[in-house]
């Protein structure tokens, strides 16, 4: 028994064992740092790629808006009142005079008023992003509590 205890003690106190412990510790730190660096690099690269995509899409949106405006104006030129009148006349239509018009009652007819060109409704203020993408844990907790408390 005493012999066994002495042997274990010798092994524990061996210098190479202490060195290995140190090397293991250093390697562990290095591996941890490498992992952190790797994660950081990966996130940074992904953020960079997504950022580039955003920049590209923003530029594309701008180009498309420009193109839309251009096409809208071209369309307006093609359907200008002079052109439409000329095309109508070419098709055999003639301007109508008041006495040629017959008025009939159409139930439910709504008189034409000012055009509505709005593209968003007045209550369309809800963000397209889900709350998960911008709210903090505390915000989430507050929201959940508010929902739970609400009657």
């Amino acid at each position: 028994m005493t012999q066994l205890t002495q042997m274990v003690q010798k092994v524990r106190q061996a210098p190479w064992r202490v060195q290995r412990q140190w090397i293991g510790l250093i390697l562990l730190v290095i591996v941890l740092l490498a992992m952190l660096a790797g994660i950081y690099l990966s996130v940074t690269v992904r953020a960079g790629i997504v950022g580039r995509e955003i920049q590209f899409l923003s530029a594309q949106i701008e180009q498309n808006q420009q193109k839309n405006a251009d096409l809208q104006t071209q369309l307006a030129a093609l359907t200008a009142v002079q052109n439409m009148e000329a095309r109508a006349q070419a098709l055999g239509f003639v301007p109508v005079s008041p006495e040629e018009i017959t008025y009939i009652v159409v139930p439910g007819y709504v008189e034409e008023s000012l055009v509505d060109l709005s593209t968003v409704s007045q209550d369309d203020s809800v963000s397209l992003l889900q709350p998960e993408y911008f709210e903090t844990l505390f915000d989430w907790l507050t929201r959940k509590i508010a929902v739970g408390v609400a009657p």
């Binding site: 090397i23 420009q66 009142v81 009652v105």
Partner: protein, 576 residues
């Protein structure tokens, strides 16, 4: 462990330690070195100028009246330029730029310049043609001589309807500034807010790039089809009557919305550089708001309205017209110099008797007459939302150039100047149960996809509803008996002709006149108010001959475009 192994471990550890120290030192150096910091800073943020697209302008039904098209800016990079002559030649051939001027600019660039702008607002067709040539020259083994040319697409103003409503719209010059009309009045709102921003080039900070809202779009009260029809009628009237110019305004008297506003000379805002050639001398851009004149007999409706409202006269009041009246020591005569005998007030209006209306004004008393004129907005700008409105002139007692006779002459539209839009606003009170409406051209604004409609605004109530209805009936009766050319089959309208002499430096012009007509209908439910002014017609001097038929033509178009059924149909519908 063996000693040799121990030594090797130490060596490796020392080397790694040295590398780590070197890395740390480099990190510190990058963070602190001013040269490196400047380099990082320069590439991290760049200044970008954002010019939001100019808002569009629509008519009340959503037809585009002013939009944007793609145009190009052509630049040359001096560092990359190898053949200035080839560039100058290409600019001359495809863009129309003078060869010598371009070459001089390229060979003697401003000091410190790295880029030169050769042309801007180049049409897409021209720019595309030049881009094609540039692309083809890439195959040149000696190098592309046009490689230094750069093209930047941006938006420029365009008016797809050409001259239609140009006097109302105004125009936008190359400096992106709006002039006259809606473009001038709402230039800042239409243009949006140009901004210069420091924008990060780091893609990870892409979301920091700000969103720039485009300019506000406008929806006008104008009806494109009615505007086109009215412009055509006006051109025809000027031609047929050999007149100098003309103006027609169609308004909804209930809301003050201008449905059509036509005037001369017409102008294509796409070619705005011709503005000085078209509007020579003192010619206003829009006579409807910027040219005052003596309105003549159409002013009588305001005098009579004031007298009826104050109770000085009733429609049945009888006046003995002897053909002359003395006001302030001066004699006033009728338009024909004749005496019309006993006349009631409707007869005075029907025959447009100056003597009678001068008498009515004297019965009103000076102060009350001018109080009513001011209530009708005479002498004040209407506040219409168009750039360049004139005030007109109403002399009042106390002014150095006011004389007692002015009370008499002002009553039938002499010695007082108004703009067409002032007369329209004043008459809106008579067509709208006494409520005078502010005239307006913009019906709604459109910002970030949200439309905000403008509410009609009452400018005042110069006369009571009962007075307005009584006068409308009197004028409708007067038209039925005396101005047959203005009558519109199926529709009962109220109105008044005007034949105004034109003041010159040496008194009134003996030959030329201003022929005008103002009227509204249907009398029982006025939905339109039409004003016609034909300036200096040579076919006939009379408003009843020149302007009344134009009024009828405009009303015939208006009822069709607005879908207003004849009186009999409306009565049937109301009876159901």
């Amino acid at each position: 462990m063996r000693p040799s192994l121990n030594w090797r471990y130490l060596t490796v550890a020392s080397l790694l330690g040295l590398v780590a120290v070197a890395v740390l030192m480099q990190i510190v150096r990058i963070q602190t070195d001013p040269e490196v910091r400047e380099l990082i800073g320069r590439s991290d943020l760049v200044v970008r100028y954002y010019y939001p697209p100019r808002g569009e302008i629509y008519d009340r039904h959503g037809h585009l009246l002013a939009g944007n098209i793609t145009v190009y800016e052509i630049t040359v990079s001096l560092a990359d330029m190898t053949d200035p002559q080839a560039i100058a030649l290409a600019m001359q051939t495809y863009i129309g730029k003078d060869f010598d001027t371009t070459l001089k600019l390229l060979t003697n660039p401003p000091a410190g310049a790295s880029y030169i702008r050769l042309a801007d607002y180049v049409s897409a067709e021209q720019a595309t043609a030049l881009m094609e040539v540039q692309k083809q020259m890439d195959a040149d083994p000696r190098g592309n001589p046009l490689a230094a040319l750069g093209f930047r697409a941006h938006l420029g103003r365009s008016y797809p309807e050409g001259t239609l409503a140009a006097n109302v719209l105004g125009f936008v010059a190359r400096n992106e500034q709006g002039y006259f009309g809606v473009e001038g009045r709402y230039s800042n709102q239409l243009a949006g807010v140009p901004v210069a921003l420091l924008v990060p080039t780091d893609p990870r900070r892409a979301l920091e790039t700000p969103h720039i809202s485009p300019g506000t779009s406008l929806i006008l009260t104008l009806d494109r089809d009615l505007q086109a029809a009215v412009e055509e009628i006006l051109q025809q009237a000027i031609l047929e009557n050999d007149a100098e110019s003309g103006t027609i305004i169609v308004m909804n008297p209930r809301t003050g919305e201008i449905l059509a506003m036509a005037t001369t000379p017409q102008f294509d805002p796409n070619n705005y550089t011709a503005v000085d050639e078209v509007f020579t001398g003192s010619t206003p851009y829009n006579r409807a708001i910027s040219q005052d004149y003596e309105p003549g007999s159409i002013m009588k409706i305001l005098t009579m309205a004031a007298a009826l409202d104050s109770g000085v006269v009733t429609p049945g009041t009888i006046f003995l017209d002897t053909g002359v009246i003395n006001v302030g020591g001066e004699y006033i005569y009728n338009w024909d110099g004749g005496a019309w005998g006993y006349q009631d007030m409707t007869g005075c209006l029907a025959h447009s008797l100056n003597v009678c209306l001068a008498w009515v004004a004297t019965q009103l008393d000076t102060d009350l007459f001018y109080t009513y004129m001011q209530r009708f907005g005479i002498g004040h700008p209407t506040g219409i939302d168009l750039a360049g409105e004139m005030t007109g002139r109403l002399k009042i007692p106390g002014d150095a150039d006011w004389f007692p006779v002015d009370l008499g002459t002002n009553s039938f539209g002499q010695g007082v100047s108004v703009t067409p839009i002032q007369m329209v606003m004043a008459a809106s009170a008579l067509a709208n149960d006494g409520k005078m409406m502010y005239p307006r051209v913009v019906a709604a604004t459109l910002q970030n996809g949200r439309q905000t409609n403008m509410a009609p605004q009452v400018a005042g109530t110069p006369v009571s509803a009962a007075t307005a209805r009584t006068l409308s009936e009197m004028l409708a009766y007067a038209l039925d008996t005396e101005a047959l050319r203005a009558l519109v089959p199926g529709y009962r309208v109220a109105g008044k002709t005007g034949t105004a002499q034109i003041p010159t430096r040496y008194g009134y012009d003996p030959e030329l006149t201003n022929a005008s007509f103002i009227g509204w209908g249907p009398v029982d439910d006025p939905q339109f108010l039409v004003y016609v002014w034909i300036e200096k017609p040579r076919s006939s001097p009379w408003g009843s001959v020149v302007a009344a038929p134009v009024f009828r033509q405009v009303v015939e178009k208006t009822v069709v475009v607005m879908g207003i059924p004849p009186d009999s149909v409306r009565a049937q519908l109301a009876g159901r």
